[in-house]
């Protein structure tokens, strides 16, 4: 049972990673990051059966942080869209000094 859970977690994480690397729309990338987080959550929960309740506590923390991140991230994306009329990351290089 645990092997299947971890395999699913790995598949989800890989899908999320590939999405982050290949997609250009900021919203989609954002969603892929959420997918990665939840893949990790899944593996935490799966492993908590073996190693105790600590993993489930982590999951609660991760979901909290993810919620905060979603709020801030979406706000940033909206603000970028207002300035540039696009959320295509190819056209945004504000991080260049």
């Amino acid at each position: 049972m645990i092997a299947e859970s971890l395999a699913l977690s790995a598949v989800l994480f890989t899908i999320g990673t590939i999405g982050v690397l290949t997609r250009r729309n900021a919203i989609v990338i954002f969603m892929c990051v959420e997918l990665m987080l939840n893949a990790v959550n899944l593996s935490f929960v799966a492993l908590s059966r073996q190693y105790g309740v600590t993993g489930q506590v982590f999951v609660v923390f991760v979901m909290t942080v993810a919620a905060a991140e979603a709020a801030v991230g979406l706000a940033i994306i909206i603000s970028i869209f207002r300035h540039r009329q696009t959320v295509n990351l190819q056209n945004i290089n504000l991080l260049k000094g």
């Binding site: 690397l21 990351l89 190819q90 945004i92 290089n93 260049k96």
Partner: protein
């Protein structure tokens, strides 16, 4: 460990508690003189440097720049304000040191110890097994040297009081001269090679300072620099020899080295290399081929300096070092043959150059180089006592010749100065007929000339004959004769050295007579107006000359040859036996080198005949009457021209040594190494490297999140795979 053995040796020494305990005071006295005179010269600021070279244009006429000023302002005006104190302090410390040395010498003669008396002063340095004490060694050899240095030195100091009278650098001159005597005494008294080396370098420094005494003339400063640089080449050899000695014997004390020397193995390559390196040092300090070139240039210094440093004492330090290391040299026949051969070649080579020099001091300079060659022949063939004997007699007659020439130059300079002429006061073509103006100097110079030419009964005859006889005696039945020198039998080398020595003796007689003829005989060529101003030097200058004249006449009694009918036979030879007797015996297979009476008389006859022939040839061939003053003299031609230009050795050295080093320094070391590699590659190169990395880093920063994400993921994969593969 060696210190303990030395201490044990000295506790039971017969000189313990005697006046020899005060040996440290002998060098300290001149040091005190140096401090006083040095302070006086610094105190009167403005008189530290030499005189303003007022109109002093000619290259050689730099004997005393002050005389010009003296004429204009009166004598007292340009004398240094402290001159009177310096005149007392300078010579007095030397005379006191001489008297103390005589007392110690007397104590040594009374005790006649077989082992040297070592006076420990303090520990100089300790590093692991290496330990050097500041210690002075009183033995037969060192005390002979101390007597020569302080005795002849005191006479030359007194002479200098008159000669340098009006020089504005008067206290500075005496400070340097006192310092020189201090270092020279450290050199001969030091009980180990490092202490000797301190004195060795110290006298080199003082030589440099005194050659360039009138340093506002670039020629003089250059001559000092040349002496310093050439001596460094020799010192390199000396240092390496010391390192080898310590590495193989573990000690550098003379007594320790002498005791341990047999461990090196007689005739081994190691001891030969050590001796050859030591001799390289000697060749530098004592002006032998190929490092003799500095000595003739050293004549740029004041004439008393030439007498003291460049004739009587410092340049003989190499001979002293070989005699001091007799235990080593007697085990290395090949090295000893090299010493003798180089000495013989130098004696002949320098004598030929002396034939055609016009500067009176240059004649004497090449004569000194030649006579030093004789000394090396003596110590080279293992006749250490004979070498030291010639060193002593040479100190007498060569100091006399130099001081006499100083007296001549002083008179010439005074005369030219009175008339305002700028002729060369040292060129013999401007002299002539001086015997009527300066009779005392004339007579004394002739005594010295006869002494150096080898006419009996003057000092040089005995010492030179002793050396030539020793060479001849060792052509058979000695370790030298049996040894091979680069495949040549040792006896053949010794015969060659003997022939060189005889030829040099002939040339010596010729060039010295030539100098006397051109200087004192014939008509006077100094000019009508100058003639009336020519007169004998004051008594303070002629007094030391007389003392040296007496010594030159009777100095041979120090070591009369074995066949001599009366008097103290071979006194110096027996005196030095505790120091170098064993080493000398080792060279001659344990037996004293004896020749039959007939052979001895024949050799003496040949030597005297050659000396007389030389003088006769000079009188017959040279016509002082035909000589013209320097300004009108024609250029010499043919071989004479080569001799006058000293075989162009300076030019050859310039071409094959100086210029390659200069262009190498410029092209390779400066442009290539310094500007190219250090500045270009290291300094600017590292800046370029940092800038290049910066440029690459700037390219990585695209500002696109996608790129960063890719790099991040690749990095994570790389790290994870690195961990999982481990």
């Amino acid at each position: 460990m060696l210190l303990q053995t030395a201490a044990v040796a000295s506790t039971g020494h017969s000189l313990q508690g005697s006046v020899a305990e005060w040996i440290w005071l002998v060098p300290v006295l001149p040091l005190i003189g140096f401090l006083i005179n040095g302070w006086l010269s610094l105190r009167a600021v403005g008189h530290v440097g030499p005189a303003d070279p007022s109109g002093e244009e000619h290259g050689h006429g730099h004997t005393d720049d002050a005389h010009h000023d003296a004429h204009d302002d009166g004598h007292q005006a340009t004398r240094h304000p402290s001159a009177s104190i310096v005149s007392v302090v300078g010579p007095t410390v030397l005379i006191l040191a001489f008297l103390l040395a005589v007392a110690i010498f007397a104590a040594l003669a009374a005790a006649q110890p077989d082992a040297p008396f070592v006076k420990q002063l303090f520990t100089w340095m300790v590093a692991g097994d290496f330990r050097v004490d500041a210690a002075f060694q009183v033995d037969q050899l060192s005390m002979v040297m101390v007597l020569v240095i302080t005795g002849v030195g005191a006479l030359i100091h007194v002479f200098s009081v008159g000669y340098m009278r009006d020089d504005p650098g008067y206290p500075r001159y005496f400070a340097y001269l006192n310092l020189f005597v201090f270092f020279m005494l450290v050199l001969v008294l030091g009980a180990s090679y490092p202490v000797l080396f301190v004195g060795w370098e110290g006298v080199g420094l003082c030589s440099y300072l005194l050659i360039g005494f009138w340093f506002t003339d670039k020629v003089n400063a250059d001559a000092g620099k040349k002496a310093f640089v050439v001596n460094r080449i020799g010192d390199f050899g000396f240092l390496i020899a010391m390192f080898l000695l310590f590495a193989n014997l573990g000690t550098l004390d003379f007594s320790g080295v002498n005791a341990a020397a047999p461990a090196l193995g007689a005739g081994s390559a190691l001891v030969t290399v050590i001796c050859l390196l030591l001799f390289l040092g000697c060749a530098g300090k004592s002006a032998q081929i190929p490092l003799y070139v500095w000595l003739p240039d050293a004549m740029a210094g004041p004439t008393p300096v030439s007498a003291l440093i460049h004739a009587a004492t410092m340049v003989t330090a190499g001979v002293y070092l070989v005699a001091r290391s007799a235990a080593l040299f007697s085990m290395a026949p090949a090295a000893s043959l090299t010493v003798a051969l180089v000495g013989g070649l130098t004696a002949l080579f320098a004598a030929t150059i002396g034939l055609k020099q016009w500067d009176i001091k240059k004649v004497l300079a090449y004569s000194t180089v030649s006579q030093l060659g004789y000394m090396f022949v003596g110590v080279g063939v293992g006749a250490y006592a004979a070498g030291i004997f010639h060193l002593v007699t040479h100190a007498f007659f060569k100091a006399l010749l130099f001081l006499g020439s100083g007296s001549v130059i002083y008179a010439m300079h005074q005369a030219y100065h009175h008339t305002g002429s700028h002729e060369d006061a040292q060129d013999m073509r401007n002299m002539g007929g001086l015997k009527q103006f300066m009779p005392v100097t004339f007579v004394l110079m002739w005594i010295a000339t006869l002494a150096i030419a080898g006419i009996p009964p003057f000092a040089g005859f005995f010492s030179k004959d002793e050396i030539l006889g020793a060479v001849f005696a060792r052509t058979h039945g000695s370790t030298l004769a049996d040894a091979q020198w680069f495949g040549i039998p040792g006896s053949a080398v010794l015969y060659a050295v003997w022939v060189f020595g005889l030829a040099a003796a002939l040339l010596t007689a010729i060039y010295m007579t030539r100098m006397m003829l051109y200087t004192f005989h014939g008509p006077n060529r100094s000019g009508e107006r100058e003639r009336e101003h020519l007169h004998e030097a004051p008594w303070i200058m002629t007094g030391p000359l007389v003392a040296l004249g007496v010594l030159s006449a009777v100095g041979g009694w120090l070591n009369l040859p074995a066949f001599f009918p009366a008097g103290p036979i071979q006194a110096l030879h027996h005196w030095l036996e505790p120091v170098s007797g064993d080493a000398a015996l080792q060279v001659t297979h344990g037996a004293e080198a004896h020749m039959t009476a007939t052979t001895e008389y024949t050799l003496v006859g040949i030597a005297v005949a050659i000396a007389v022939a030389g003088i006769a040839i000079a009188f017959a061939r040279l016509k002082p009457a035909a000589l013209v003053p320097k300004a009108e003299a024609p250029e010499a031609e043919g071989f004479e021209r080569v001799l006058e230009h000293k075989y162009y050795v300076d030019e050859i050295y310039d071409r094959i040594v100086v210029r390659p080093i200069e262009s190498g320094s410029r092209g390779i070391l400066w442009r290539g190494l310094d500007a190219g590699i250090i500045d270009g590659l290291f300094v600017n190169g590292s800046a370029y490297l940092a800038r290049g990395f910066g440029w690459l880093g700037a390219r990585l920063q695209t500002g696109r999140t996608g790129t960063y994400a890719w790099v991040l993921v690749i990095g994570v994969i790389a790290v994870l795979s690195a961990f999982s593969l481990r």
